[in-house]
């Protein structure tokens, strides 16, 4: 909402010497955020000019420029060379004799544009003829300003070439723009802003003059007939609870609106259109009541307000044919012909036009919810809907209508009908019993009773002593009975009034007291696990990245997921930003590969990245609907459980992707390429950070991994943790990722649960370690894990470690066989082992391996 300083000053005494910046700061102090400061940034000379002559000159680029001479009075070239001003102009919407706005060299336009004489299109142009946007008056750049049209003939007759256009157009005036929060609909008016500014100055006696304080006539039976109906009110609130009409006859349709009004509308960011429309807009800006003017000649029956019928249509003023919804509220002619979408936009059929002489003025009050829904349903946000959906003063309609009538009579030459219609179904506002101490208690700052009452009265509240009703509760005088002013529907209960008291008294007076919670238990285990997992991976050289969790539908196929794979069941976003990625990821890997692709495309070769984040696993039959209970009380446990049950499972996963060299080549020698084992090792590093052991088995059937190079990672009790290894070559080819890319994905929830209890210390022996090596020949299909498990099972209690240090397959062991060389380390508790003992353990281990997997010692 904008406010020119002069208009503000009409209704409130400004602080002496207040600038736009001061006014903006005053608004900030009462909670109206400064949005912008307009105007005041134009410096002259900018003058009125009269076009004396021009010639149209076609240019090589297809443009036709006008080479003009302009009478600018005693300024410019007249002053220096005794000739008329010579200007090149690109617009063609003017004639010889028109009054225009001329910016002379030396002037500075909004945005800091300094104007100088310059050579262009083969002439020296001494300044420019201005359009609205160039002066910061509006956004119109269709042509230059022709003052006869812009100001109206009457006003234009008063001006002379050479007159200062800065004063004439109000260009020097500052306009403050503030951001109005949704609860303060009344601030969408000069009336509301003037009141707020007055509060900011301390609400001095007599300092505020309400623009809506005008006498209004009593309703009379001779007014235009109006019927309010609503068979389907929304949330029990009728669509329209007040409707005022006034009639003004004999308005001269050729009269323009006065220049001062056009100027103010322009300053407020609206376009002047015609007298009747401008007046309704002007009064709306002044007091906040949206108004509508109908051509009385185009109406036949009584005005009937009702909900729309299914399938009904209305062509609105913006020339869009709209199919209406039964929730839409309509203004109709005689109940049949829709005239307007109530509170949102008028219709084309009853529009004011160039022949309108008799005007019906509507000032009504509509239900905010009805208007908000219609506005959103039709994607139509108008000045009216903006105000109605935030709440308009229901007592304002008669005064607003009167203001319109007065202006139509004064500037349109019309006569007001004596008949006045005012159908008033508004209900009385309930008084609130406010505990006088509540502001002090809730804010933590002492507000004496007198101050609380004073502030509430300044706000426009009616305040009476509450002792008549509060006898049962607390000492006498502990409460006051407050009725909010009609323009503040947002003031409902205690905290609303507390905010008002604190706000008007100044938020900066609120003290600062650090709260001192005493029961903090630090981060949870799960939170610490998240940090440890990430740090463990960083310790291995991986870099953390973040990706969006949105993935393509085609990714499940690209990953080669089986038809019944749980990861195919994904949560779908109903309104995704891109139809290319409508699904929530079911693995972190699914979106992490995108980051890999981006890094590769930016020239990285050796990449190790990871992400820790949620995956969404709705499961195959997830057609759940979450109940939406009321908020009057805590929902019952069943409802809360039903809400939880409707949510997909969202465990935290960590995924790692690595490609290129694990160890770099350099002057020290060749590098080592990343392979599947690096990823298994990454899983091990994560587990080790949490003091967990992992079991590794081959998993030939887990997409998108290579069937021969995928490790299934689980806890010793068999709980699945995740997978690690090399990705499937076909997946990599399909996704355009580098060959031999390796990846791991681990379920961090599983790791969190497994590591939740404190690790128990196990004592260790300090006696010497004894080593013995053994080479075993096994069938090539036997896995290292199987051999190791067998060795461990036979080696006895003093086995400390088993290390596979060589793998050989070839002529010396025979086809279909391989040799695995192990180093076994033994250490006893409390004594040194003898060689004979160690050999015995080794033989027992080998015997177990040959029994389990047919191993033969070489």
């Amino acid at each position: 909402m904008r406010i020119p300083l002069s208009w503000l000053a009409d209704h409130v005494d400004l602080a002496p010497g207040a600038t736009g910046r001061d006014v903006a700061a005053a608004f900030v102090s009462v909670g109206l955020e400064e949005e912008d400061l307009h105007g005041g940034d134009v410096t002259g000379p900018i003058v009125v000019g009269r076009v004396l002559s021009f010639s149209d000159e076609p240019q090589k680029n297809g443009k036709v420029i006008r080479w003009c001479t302009v009478d600018v009075g005693p300024h410019g070239q007249m002053e220096s060379e005794r000739i008329a001003q010579e200007i090149v102009c690109g617009a063609h919407n003017f004639e010889v004799g028109d009054l225009v706005v001329v910016v002379l060299p030396g002037a500075v336009l909004p945005g800091g544009f300094a104007i100088a004489a310059r050579k262009t299109y083969g002439h020296v142009s001494h300044g420019m003829i201005c359009a609205e946007d160039e002066l910061g008056l509006g956004t119109d750049h269709a042509g230059i300003i022709v003052l006869d049209t812009y100001l109206g003939a009457d006003a234009a007759a008063e001006v002379r070439p050479g007159d200062d256009a800065i004063a004439l157009l109000g260009l020097a005036e500052e306009v403050v723009e503030v951001n109005v929060t949704p609860d303060r609909g009344y601030c969408f008016s000069v009336r509301g802003l003037a009141r707020e500014y007055w509060h900011a100055l301390g609400s001095p006696e007599g300092g505020f003059r309400d623009p809506a304080a005008v006498p209004t006539p009593a309703p009379s039976p001779t007014g235009y007939a109006v019927e309010l109906t609503d068979e389907t009110p929304l949330e029990d609130r009728t669509g329209c609870d007040r409707f005022v009409t006034r009639v003004v006859r004999g308005v001269d349709p050729t009269r323009p609106s006065p220049a001062w009004m056009q100027q103010r509308l322009t300053q407020m960011g609206m376009r002047p259109i015609s007298l009747a429309v401008d007046i309704t807009n002007y009064v709306m800006l002044a007091v906040g009541q949206p108004l509508h003017a109908y051509d009385l000649a185009k109406l036949s029956g009584p005005i009937v307000v009702r909900r729309a019928r299914p399938g009904e249509h209305l062509t609105t003023l913006d020339a869009v044919d709209r199919t209406l919804d039964p929730e839409d509220l309509l203004i109709t002619d005689g109940g049949e012909v829709p005239l307007a979408l109530a509170g949102v936009m008028g219709g084309a059929t009853s529009e004011i036009d160039a022949s309108t002489t008799d005007v019906l003025v509507e000032a009504a009050h509509f239900d905010p919810t009805t208007i908000a829904r219609s506005s959103r349903r039709h994607k139509l946000i108008s000045e009216a809907s903006k105000r109605f959906e935030r709440g308009v003063d229901p007592d304002l309609a008669p005064a607003a209508a009167q203001l319109v009538v007065d202006l139509l009579v004064e500037h349109g030459g019309g006569t007001a009908d004596p008949g006045v219609t005012d159908v008033d179904r508004t209900s009385r506002r309930a008084a609130y019993l406010l505990e006088v101490d509540l502001p002090s208690r809730l804010v933590g700052h002492r507000y004496p009773r007198e101050r609380v009452v004073e502030i509430l009265r300044d706000l426009g509240c009616t305040v009476v002593d509450g002792s008549v009703v509060d006898a049962s509760d607390g000492p006498k005088g502990a409460h006051v009975l407050v009725t909010s002013p009609s323009w503040r529907p947002d003031l409902v209960d205690g905290p609303d009034y507390v905010e008002e008291v604190a706000r008007v008294n100044g938020y900066d007076n609120i003290p600062s007291v650090t709260p001192t919670p005493t029961r903090g238990r630090g981060l949870t285990h799960a939170q610490r696990v998240g940090r440890l997992v990430a740090n463990a991976l960083v310790g291995r050289g991986a870099t953390e990245v973040l990706t969006y969790p949105f993935v393509a539908e085609s990714l499940a196929d690209a990953f080669g997921l089986a038809a019944d794979d749980e990861r195919r069941s994904a949560t779908r976003v109903a309104n995704p930003l891109s139809d290319e990625a409508p699904l929530m990821r079911t693995s972190v890997l699914a979106s992490l590969v995108e980051a890999l692709r981006r890094n590769v495309s930016r020239g990285q070769k050796d990449i190790a990245i990871f992400e820790l984040g949620s995956v969404t696993l709705p499961g195959p039959d997830s057609e759940h609907t979450a109940p939406v209970p009321g908020v009057e009380r805590r929902p019952d446990p069943e409802t809360v459980a039903a809400i939880e049950a409707a949510l997909p499972r969202q465990p935290r996963h960590v995924a790692v992707v690595e490609v290129g060299e694990a160890e770099r080549a350099g002057w020290w020698g060749p590098g080592r390429a990343v392979d599947w084992s690096d990823l298994v090792d990454a899983a091990r590093a994560v587990a080790a950070a949490l003091a967990l052991e992992l079991t590794v088995e081959a998993d030939p059937d887990h997409a998108p991994w290579h069937p021969g190079r995928c490790a299934r990672i689980s806890l010793p009790d068999g709980t699945l943790v995740g997978h690690a290894g090399e990705l499937h070559p076909k997946v990599l080819a399909t996704l355009g990722l580098p060959p031999r890319t390796c990846a791991a994905e681990l379920d961090v929830e599983v790791l969190t649960v497994a590591s939740a209890s404190a690790t128990r210390f196990e004592a260790f022996s300090t006696f010497p370690l004894a080593f013995t090596d053994v080479a075993l020949v096994v069938d090539a299909v036997v896995t290292a894990a199987e051999v190791e498990t067998a060795l461990r099972s036979g080696a006895g209690e003093w086995l400390e470690s088993v290390t596979l240090f060589d793998v050989y397959a070839g002529d010396q062991v025979g086809a279909g066989l391989k040799s695995l060389a192990y180093r076994l380390a033994f250490r006893a508790d409390g004594r040194t082992l003898t060689t004979e003992e160690v050999n015995g353990f080794r033989d027992a281990a080998v015997a177990a391996a040959s029994a389990a997997v047919g191993a033969v010692q070489r």
């Binding site: 900030v28 905010e499 953390e544 969790p549 929530m584 770099r664």
Partner: protein, 376 residues
């Protein structure tokens, strides 16, 4: 050199002559000094200690008459002791020299590039999150988390965002299919506060951190997926003064001791009264202008880029928890009061580290994370 005396007759034993002995010792010293290595010193020892004139003199002592033995023995012993000391000293010298030489020979060019293994890094956004969490934990608060796919009730209704609230419309919120299924991608971390209030009895002092979603296209200043931190306190007797105190403390932790704040009234459905907090710009210290001129050059004052020239930086919205919200969570608003405040973590990172383009935060380029290492 003469042979040993076989007779008891006193004969002249030249090797025992004091002058001769001195000459032998002098010669040995010279040989030790001349030895340039431990091997040469060994040769010198063999020639001058194990064999040679002094060794010979020692053998000759036996041939002397008893009367002369003591005197000669004393002289030879002294000479030998002297040689032993000189030898030891020279050995130490030569060993030190040898050690020095070996270290010189083993020297390498330590300026050759290293980096055989990649160095990892955390993402600065998660580091900022941790830093914020730690600031609160240090104040005795706890960190809570919740699901990203969330129910409409938790995300909207319970927070006093009714059915007709603009935020619930399609243009801001990602709805889960089917759109009437009551699920959304949470638009704020506030539903975690609802969950906490449903789960716990006051006193509650928690911050929720995490990913949130809005239907904004990615550009330099917007991202559809971003992160928030929100604080919630519910206790007996909490006031707006406590809210202000908590924010002030937090601002000092994040932006330095002595950082001033200002507050103004605002509106959020979740809170009443509501408050907006600004803190004084750390770049221009509230002046709104910074000197862009290089050192020594005349002043070149420009509007501060960090705060846009206002001298203040908007921290975020806050307020006293709306009674309706407490009621919806089963907390008696006549017994307990609460406050809440929140801010965007991307914004905190941008302010703290001068990241200007949101795309750098979300694109996953490793060079972005790697600038930060393990700390922001």
């Amino acid at each position: 050199m003469s042979g040993p005396n076989k007779q008891y007759d006193p004969v002249e034993v030249a090797t025992l002559d004091p002058a001769h002995l001195d000459a032998a010792v002098t010669a040995a010293f010279a040989a030790f000094a001349a030895a340039g290595s431990l091997e040469e010193l060994k040769t010198a020892r063999l020639a001058h200690v194990d064999k040679g004139a002094v060794a010979a003199a020692k053998r000759e002592i036996g041939a002397l008459p008893p009367s002369a033995k003591a005197d000669a023995g004393k002289r030879v012993g002294a000479a030998l002791a002297e040689l032993g000391r000189a030898l030891a000293a020279r050995t130490v010298e030569l060993e030190a020299e040898r050690d020095r030489r070996i270290l010189v020979e083993e020297a390498v060019d330590v300026t050759m590039p290293v980096g055989r293994r990649a160095l990892g890094a955390r993402h600065p956004l998660t580091l900022t999150t941790q830093r914020l969490q730690d600031a609160f934990v240090g104040m005795g608060w706890e960190v809570v988390e919740g699901p990203e796919v969330e129910s409409e009730w938790m995300n909207f209704d319970a927070l006093n965002l009714g059915k007709d609230h603009p935020a619930r419309q399609m243009q801001d919120t990602f709805f889960v299919d089917p759109p009437d299924g009551g699920l959304v991608l949470r638009t704020q971390t506030s539903p975690v506060q609802i969950r906490t209030m449903l789960d716990r009895e006051p006193p509650i002092y928690v911050v929720s951190t995490g990913k949130v979603f809005r239907t904004d296209e990615l550009d330099a200043t917007h991202t559809p997926v971003f992160h928030q931190i929100e604080a919630l306190a519910v206790d007996k007797g909490l006031t707006m003064a406590h809210l202000r105190g908590a924010i002030d403390h937090f601002v000092r932790v994040m932006f330095g001791e002595g950082t001033r704040t200002r507050v103004r009234a605002s509106y959020f459905p979740f809170t009443e009264p509501s408050m907006e907090t600004d803190f004084v710009c750390f770049a221009c210290h509230g002046d709104g202008r910074t000197n862009d001129a290089p050192d020594g050059a005349p002043e070149l004052l420009r509007a501060c880029r960090t705060c846009g020239g206002s001298g203040w930086i908007e921290l975020g919205g806050s307020g006293m928890v709306n009674r309706k919200v407490l009621t919806a969570c089963g907390i008696d608003p006549d017994v307990y009061t609460g406050f809440a405040f929140g801010l965007g973590i991307e914004r905190a990172l941008q302010l703290r580290s001068g990241v200007t383009d949101m795309r750098d935060i979300v694109e996953g380029d490793v060079r972005f994370s790697q600038q930060f290492g393990m700390e922001v």
